[in-house]
C-alpha cells in the first residue's frame, strides 16, 4: 500500500521538479488535472470456483456499495527545440461494502497508483524517437470471494522504446519494443497468487496510411514473449511456462460533430503448457456525442470471443490472467455543474471468464461521479 501512495504522491507533488532537472530550461504546462469522487452500486452474479481466492464462500449473487476517490494529471514540457517530455500520474482509492455472501460481509479496499514518464525527440521533419517508463502498484485488502472478482495486488514496471517515421507517401510507421516485469502480492495463506508473476517482452509495428477524409486509421501487428517463473509445466525438460503470442489489429478514430473510435484485434496465444493456448478476438467501439442541455454521452463496448485449442479437466486460468476473455459495456452521461466541476452518471456491465474455461461471471452497476478540474 505504501508504494501506491508513494507513486501517487510523487506524481502529484514532485513532478514539476523533474522537468527542471539538469538545467533543461523546459517550459512546463499541465495538460489536465482531474480530481474525481463518486459512489456506485453494483451487483455480481455467478457462483463459480476459483483456486486463487483467499477465502471460500458460496453465493450466486452479491452486491456492493462503493465509494471511490481518484486523481490524475499530466505535465508536458518542451525540452529544447525538438524534445518533449511528459509525466502523468493516476491514482485512486476504492472502498467496497459488499453483502450477500454466506459466511460474512466483506469490505475490500483497493489502492492503486501509476506513474508514466515519456520523452520524445524529433531529429528531423520525418522521424520521431521516444522512450517510456511506467510504474504501477496496486493493493487489495480483504479480497472477497466470487462472484465479486477483484484483481490481486501487484507491482509492475515497464519500459518501451518507440520510433515513428513518415515516409514519402505520407504514411506514418511506428515501432515499439517493450519489456514488462510484474510481481503479484500474495498473502501467506494464498501463495498461489504468485503464479501470476510474469516477465514479458514484445514488439509491435504499426502504420497509419495517408488516407484522405478517413480519420486516423492504424494497422498493427506484434508479438509477445512471456515467462511465468512461478508456473510449472510438469515437464522436466522444460520446467516453467513460456508463452508466445501474436496479435494483429486495426483502429480508427474520427472526430467531427461526434467522436468515434473503433478497434479490432485478433490474438493467438501459444505456450509450452497446453492449458493457456487459445485464439481470441476483441472488438472495441467508443462513441462520444453531445446531447441537448449540454450533456455529453459516451458509450464504450468491448466484445471478446475466445477459443481454447485443447480440452482439459483442469483449471484453465489463474485468477488475474483472464486477459482476452471478457466483454464490457459502459454508458456515461456527463454534464457541467459549475465552472470547473462536472457530474457523470455511468452504467457498466462486464462478463468475464473464470478459471474454468467457458464459464462466466457478470458484474453490473450504476455510478455517480463528480469531476473537479482545478484548471492549472
Amino acid at each position: 500500500m505504501r508504494s501506491c501512495v508513494f507513486l501517487f504522491l510523487t506524481g502529484a507533488l514532485l513532478l514539476p521538479g523533474v522537468f527542471s532537472w539538469g538545467g533543461l530550461e523546459a517550459q512546463v504546462t499541465w495538460r489536465d488535472m482531474v480530481v474525481t469522487g463518486g459512489l456506485s452500486s453494483e451487483g455480481y452474479q455467478g457462483n463459480l470456483p476459483t483456486v486463487g481466492q483467499v477465502v471460500r464462500d458460496s453465493t450466486e449473487f452479491a452486491s456492493a456499495v462503493i465509494g471511490e476517490f481518484g486523481a490524475r494529471g499530466e505535465l508536458l514540457a518542451q525540452v529544447g527545440e525538438r524534445g518533449r517530455a511528459n509525466l502523468a500520474f493516476d491514482g485512486g482509492l476504492r472502498q467496497f461494502s459488499a453483502r450477500g455472501f454466506e459466511q460474512r460481509d466483506y469490505a475490500p479496499r483497493e489502492l492503486s497508483g501509476t506513474l508514466n514518464l515519456g520523452y520524445t525527440y524529433q531529429p528531423g521533419a520525418s522521424g520521431l524517437l521516444g522512450a517510456r517508463l511506467r510504474l504501477r502498484g496496486r493493493d487489495v485488502a480483504d479480497r472477497p470471494p466470487m462472484p465479486l472478482f477483484l484483481q490481486p495486488g501487484y507491482r509492475a514496471a515497464s519500459g518501451a522504446i518507440v520510433g515513428e517515421i513518415l515516409d514519402e507517401e505520407g504514411r506514418r510507421w511506428d515501432l515499439e519494443v517493450q519489456g514488462e516485469w510484474a510481481d503479484y502480492l500474495a498473502p501467506a495463506f494464498a501463495p498461489q497468487i504468485r503464479l501470476l508473476d510474469r516477465r514479458t517482452t514484445g514488439i509491435e509495428v504499426g502504420v497509419r496510411p495517408n488516407w484522405e477524409r478517413s480519420g486516423d486509421v492504424r494497422f498493427h501487428i506484434g508479438a509477445d514473449l512471456s515467462r511465468f517463473p512461478e508456473q510449472g509445466t510438469f515437464d522436466s525438460s522444460d520446467l516453467y511456462r513460456r508463452d508466445q503470442a501474436l496479435q494483429a489489429g486495426a483502429s480508427w478514430t474520427w472526430s467531427g460533430p461526434f467522436l468515434a473510435q473503433l478497434a479490432g484485434e485478433a490474438r493467438m496465444n501459444r505456450s509450452n503448457s497446453l492449458r493457456p493456448e487459445y485464439d481470441s478476438g476483441t472488438v472495441r467501439a467508443l462513441v462520444a456525442a453531445s446531447l441537448p442541455v449540454d450533456v455529453a454521452v459516451t458509450g464504450y463496448v468491448a466484445l471478446t470471443g475466445k477459443r481454447y485449442r485443447h480440452p482439459t479437466d483442469f483449471a484453465r486460468l489463474i485468477p488475474g490472467e483472464e486477459a482476452n476473455s471478457a466483454s464490457q459495456a459502459y454508458l456515461s452521461l456527463n454534464r457541467a455543474l459549475a465552472g470547473n466541476l462536472d457530474g457523470t452518471v455511468r452504467l457498466n456491465w462486464t462478463r468475464a471468464e473464470t478459471e474454468i474455461g467457458g464459464q462466466y461471471f457478470q458484474r453490473f452497476g450504476v455510478s455517480v461521479f463528480l469531476n473537479y478540474r482545478p484548471g492549472f
Binding site: D32, V34, T36, G70, R72, R84, D90, G91, G92, T120, Q122, G124, A125, S126, G127, L128, R138, Q151, I165, L166, E168, G170, R172, R208, E212, R213, D216, S251, T253, F258, L259, Q261, A263, E265, R267, S280, L286, A288, A289, S290, A296, T298, Y300, A302, T304, E322, A323, A326, S327, Q328, Y330, S332, N334, A336, D342, T344, R346, A352, F369, N371
Partner: protein
C-alpha cells in the same frame, strides 16, 4: 472524387492599437476556418498554368502582407510618439504627431484594402489550382487502373502521392479570410470645419464598422461553442477510460483500450512549421479565440461609443 470542403483556416487582421499583443494572435489565427469548394475550370487548361497563377498570387499576397505589417508597426511607433508629444504639452509637436498618425492610419487602411484584394485573389487562384489538382489526380487514378506494367503503376502511384501532398500544401497556404478579419477602427476625428452632416457621416462610418465587428463576434462565438462541445466530448471519453483503467477493470479484456490517436507524430513537433490554430490543443484554441473575441468586443464597443460622441456633437439624430 475527394472534396476538401471541411473547415479550413483563414486569416484575421488586427487593430493597430493592439499591435504588439495581437501579433501572436494574428499568427496563430492566421488561417481560420474558410469554406469553399473547388471552382469550375475548363478541363483543357493545363495544370502548370494554374500553378503559375497560384504561385504569383501567393507571392503578391506575401508581399502585401509584409508591407501592411510594416505599416502597422510604423503606425504603432507613431502612436507612441504622439502620446509622448501630448505629454510634453508642446502643442505644435502634438499637432504634427497627430497629423502623422492620421496619415499613417489612412495608409494602413489603404494597404489593408489592398491585402484583402490579394487575399481574395489568392483564395480564388488556390481553389482553381486545387480543382486542377483534383482533375489531375482523377486522370492518374484512371491511368493506374489501365496500366499494365508494374513499373508504370509504381510511377503513377508516386505521382498521385505527390499530387496529394501538393494539394494539402496549397489547401493550407490558400486558406483565406472568412470567419472574420478585424479591420482597424476608422481613424476619424472631429475637425473644427466639420458640420452636422460630416459628423453624422463619420458616425455612420463607425456604426458600419461596429456592425462588421458584430459579425466577427458572432463567428467567433460559433467557433468557440464548437470547440467547447468537442472538449466536453473528449473529457467525457478520457474520464470514462481513466475510470475503467484506474482499478484494472479493463484488465479482463486484455487491457489496451483504444489508442488515443492524437499522439505526436513526425512533423507535429517541427519548430520550422508555422503554428496553426488547428494544431493547438482544443483548450488553447478556446483561450485564443476568447482573447480575440474580447478584442473584437472592445473594438465594437469603442466604435459605438465614438459614434455616439459624433452624433451628440452633430446635434442628436439617429443613424
Amino acid at each position: 472524387m475527394r472534396r476538401r470542403d471541411g473547415p479550413r483556416l483563414g486569416r484575421i487582421g488586427r487593430h493597430p492599437r493592439w499591435g504588439g499583443g495581437l501579433a501572436v494572435l494574428y499568427l496563430l489565427l492566421a488561417v481560420l476556418v474558410a469554406m469553399g469548394g473547388a471552382g469550375e475550370v475548363a478541363a483543357q487548361d493545363p495544370l502548370e498554368s494554374y500553378e503559375t497563377r497560384y504561385e504569383e498570387a501567393l507571392e503578391r499576397y506575401v508581399e502585401a502582407l509584409e508591407v501592411r505589417d510594416a505599416a502597422l508597426r510604423e503606425h504603432d511607433i507613431l502612436m507612441d510618439r504622439q502620446e509622448d508629444a501630448r505629454r510634453s504639452r508642446d502643442e505644435d509637436r502634438a499637432r504634427e504627431a497627430m497629423r502623422r498618425v492620421h496619415d499613417q492610419g489612412v495608409q494602413v487602411m489603404l494597404l489593408d484594402q489592398q491585402l484583402r484584394r490579394v487575399a481574395a485573389d489568392l483564395q480564388s487562384a488556390g481553389q482553381e489550382y486545387l480543382a486542377a489538382l483534383e482533375r489531375r489526380e482523377d486522370e492518374l487514378l484512371d491511368a493506374i487502373e489501365d496500366a499494365f506494367l508494374p513499373t508504370t503503376r509504381l510511377r503513377l502511384d508516386r505521382e498521385i502521392s505527390e499530387i496529394r501532398a501538393r494539394y494539402r500544401e496549397v489547401e493550407r497556404q490558400s486558406g483565406a479570410p472568412s470567419l472574420g478579419e478585424l479591420r482597424p477602427l476608422p481613424d476619424v476625428v472631429v475637425d473644427r470645419r466639420d458640420g452636422p452632416e460630416e459628423l453624422r457621416g463619420k458616425a455612420g462610418m463607425l456604426e458600419n464598422r461596429a456592425a462588421e465587428y458584430d459579425s466577427v463576434i458572432a463567428g467567433l462565438e460559433r467557433e468557440i461553442a464548437t470547440r467547447e462541445r468537442r472538449i466536453q466530448q473528449e473529457r467525457s471519453r478520457e474520464d470514462l477510460m481513466a475510470g475503467i483503467s484506474r482499478f484494472d477493470d479493463d484488465a479482463l479484456t486484455g487491457g489496451g483500450l483504444l489508442r488515443p490517436g492524437d499522439s505526436d507524430g513526425p512533423g507535429d513537433l517541427d519548430p520550422q512549421v508555422p503554428v496553426n490554430l488547428a494544431d493547438l490543443p482544443l483548450t488553447d484554441q478556446v483561450v485564443l479565440l476568447r482573447d480575440y473575441l474580447g478584442v473584437a468586443q472592445e473594438m465594437r464597443d469603442e466604435a459605438l461609443a465614438l459614434a455616439r460622441v459624433f452624433r451628440e456633437r452633430a446635434g442628436g439624430g439617429g443613424p
